[in-house]
Amino acid sequence: MTDKELARKSIHYRQNILKYIVKAGAGHTGGSLSCIDILNILYNYSLNVSPENFRSPLRDRYIQSKGHCVEALFVVLADRGFFPESDLNTLCRYKSPYIGHPTRKVNGVEQNTGALGHGLPIAVGTALAAKMDQKAYRVFTLMGDGELPEGSNWEAALTAAHYKLDNLCAIIDKNSLQITGPTADVCNTDPIDEKFNSFGWAVTHVDGHDLTALQTTFDRLPFEKGKPSLVIAHTTKGKGISFMENVLSWHHGVPNQEQYAQALKELGEAVI
């Protein structure tokens, strides 16, 4: 896929995130917009996973620890052909498998997530199984910076380094905002890089909206042989919609029709 095609994907995904959140009347808008470029590059460039190989034990695994931003995952999985996009018309509807967090009822979803601090330990176990079986698959997990205070993350960070899981890549969507306010004010976890470095991880920073930089970063995995890799992706909550960017209320705000029209207009103007 060309750079231009990838860039168009990101715009298309943002349009769909808003479309289905508006339709459902619910969703985690800001965080889905902050992590969507990362998901774009993972699913369209880096991950060895597709509807065809999803049952293969050799596929790469993606576990979304920040499960609340499921709309980003759903629009990407639909685009990759894991299920028809029209399924998303049932998002958050009675008896729909497309609920407000990822579940394995949806084709393409690896683990049921939603409670924070769970993705990394599961990813560690999955990566450990690959090492035991001498299989070459890799395990990725996407975390929010707001979920870092969960102690289970740090327990798993120790285990990942202890077992030298260089087939594991954790990505932090560092949009620096959580539901109460700036992450630095709620519970400051900076400097994240120094903490993970001291835990035995190899850490890299990247602009989480720079598609080329994201590709280059994932191309370098593992960053260091014998160490788990951490990508701190610096992102903007609500990215791509001027009135949503860095505005706390869009954590799970749903656009009204006027706002939705304005957002689509901005995204339309961004098309290359």
């Binding site: 330990p121 599961i122 999955t126 450990l128 079986d133 289970s152 120790l158």
Partner: protein, 322 residues
């Protein structure tokens, strides 16, 4: 029907030890058998396992939430994963991981709660698990069981290894005599085992409390002419309701016995089913009452709360008005 008195066979092993030897047998021919421990291989009798199969044991350190999360990941990748930790920590500290990463995500981890109930005796309530049945019964997609003797333990481990559903098993530390030597009395999850039969009363017990129920049945037979059924209801969930209906029809009273809070465990599970089924005969739940648990050894705590041959005999006579 005459009660069968089962002879006690002291010197049989603690269930925990049988758990370990059975797992070693399985691991010898199956590289996918994996044990995950939280600095608990000693108390789990797993030191020999670790020496024989160093590539099949994962040490997490003292971090139970991570233990269960990692176990879920291993299981999702096809490993027959036994997550072993003291029942008190496994089912409280890691409850959310059990609920989400194991049960809800349907990762078939075998959760092994060691030194369960009040096995740790005088170490106190931090180390007791009197809540595990109650907490785990309310979680969908999880088998909950407490094997009573060495036979049930061996069978439970062998069957758990190949079962595709998440499961929680709890074991204690004391020597457990065989409940019966009848080879036809098989073990299957979800099917209670009838150890003795009698029409006056039924003891429905689980785990290490089946033995005192048998002792009470023997004392009731020899001293009072009361004939008691004794059931090893090893599986708390799914509960063997077919057997419950049979017992309700055939016996004049029911006493449940468990090494667990009287809230939310085997007794309340039976009571709930029987009440809705229309049962209206004498019924009593014996377990640990809702109070600051008395201090002492496991045996002393059992005796204090009447989970003993003598205590259960007294309860039975009282319930029967004798």
């Amino acid at each position: 029907m005459a009660s069968v008195v089962v002879e006690s066979k002291p010197g049989t092993k603690p269930n925990l030890e049988v758990f370990s030897t059975t797992l070693q047998e399985l691991a010898a021919s199956d590289r996918d058998i994996i044990v995950v421990t939280s600095d608990s291989r000693g108390s789990g009798k797993l030191v020999p396992f670790g020496k024989k199969f160093p590539g099949q044991i994962v040490e997490i350190g003292i971090a139970e939430q991570n233990l269960v999360g990692v176990a879920a990941g291993l299981a999702s990748a096809g490993k027959k994963t036994f997550a072993v930790s003291p029942a008190c920590f496994l089912t409280a500290r890691a409850l959310e991981q059990i609920k989400n990463d194991v049960a809800y995500s349907d990762n078939p981890v075998k959760l092994i709660g060691i030194s369960a109930g009040v096995s740790y005796g005088a170490l106190g309530s931090t180390h007791h698990s009197l809540h595990d049945f109650a907490a785990l019964r309310a979680i969908n997609n999880l088998i909950v069981a407490a094997p009573a003797d060495n036979f049930e333990t061996e069978e439970a481990i062998k069957q758990a290894a190949v079962i595709s559903q998440p499961i929680y098993l709890r074991f204690g530390k004391k020597n457990m005599p065989l409940l019966t030597t009848d080879p036809g009395n098989i073990f299957r999850f979800g099917k209670g085992r009838v150890i003795t039969k009698g029409a006056d009363l039924a003891f429905i017990a689980t785990g290490e409390t089946v033995q005192p129920a048998l002792e009470a049945a023997a004392a009731l037979h020899s001293g009072h002419g009361v004939e008691a059924t004794v059931i090893s209801m090893h599986t708390i969930k799914p509960l063997d309701t077919t057997l419950l209906r049979e017992i309700a029809a055939e016996t004049a009273a029911i006493i449940t016995v468990e090494e667990h809070s009287v809230y939310g465990g085997l007794g309340e599970a039976c009571a709930s089913y029987l009440l809705q089924y229309g049962y209206a005969k004498p019924f009593r739940i014996v377990g640990i009452p809702d109070e600051y648990t008395v201090t002492g050894s496991q045996n002393e705590i059992f005796d204090h709360y009447g989970i003993s041959g003598e205590g259960l005999t007294t309860t039975a006579l009282d319930l029967l008005g004798k």
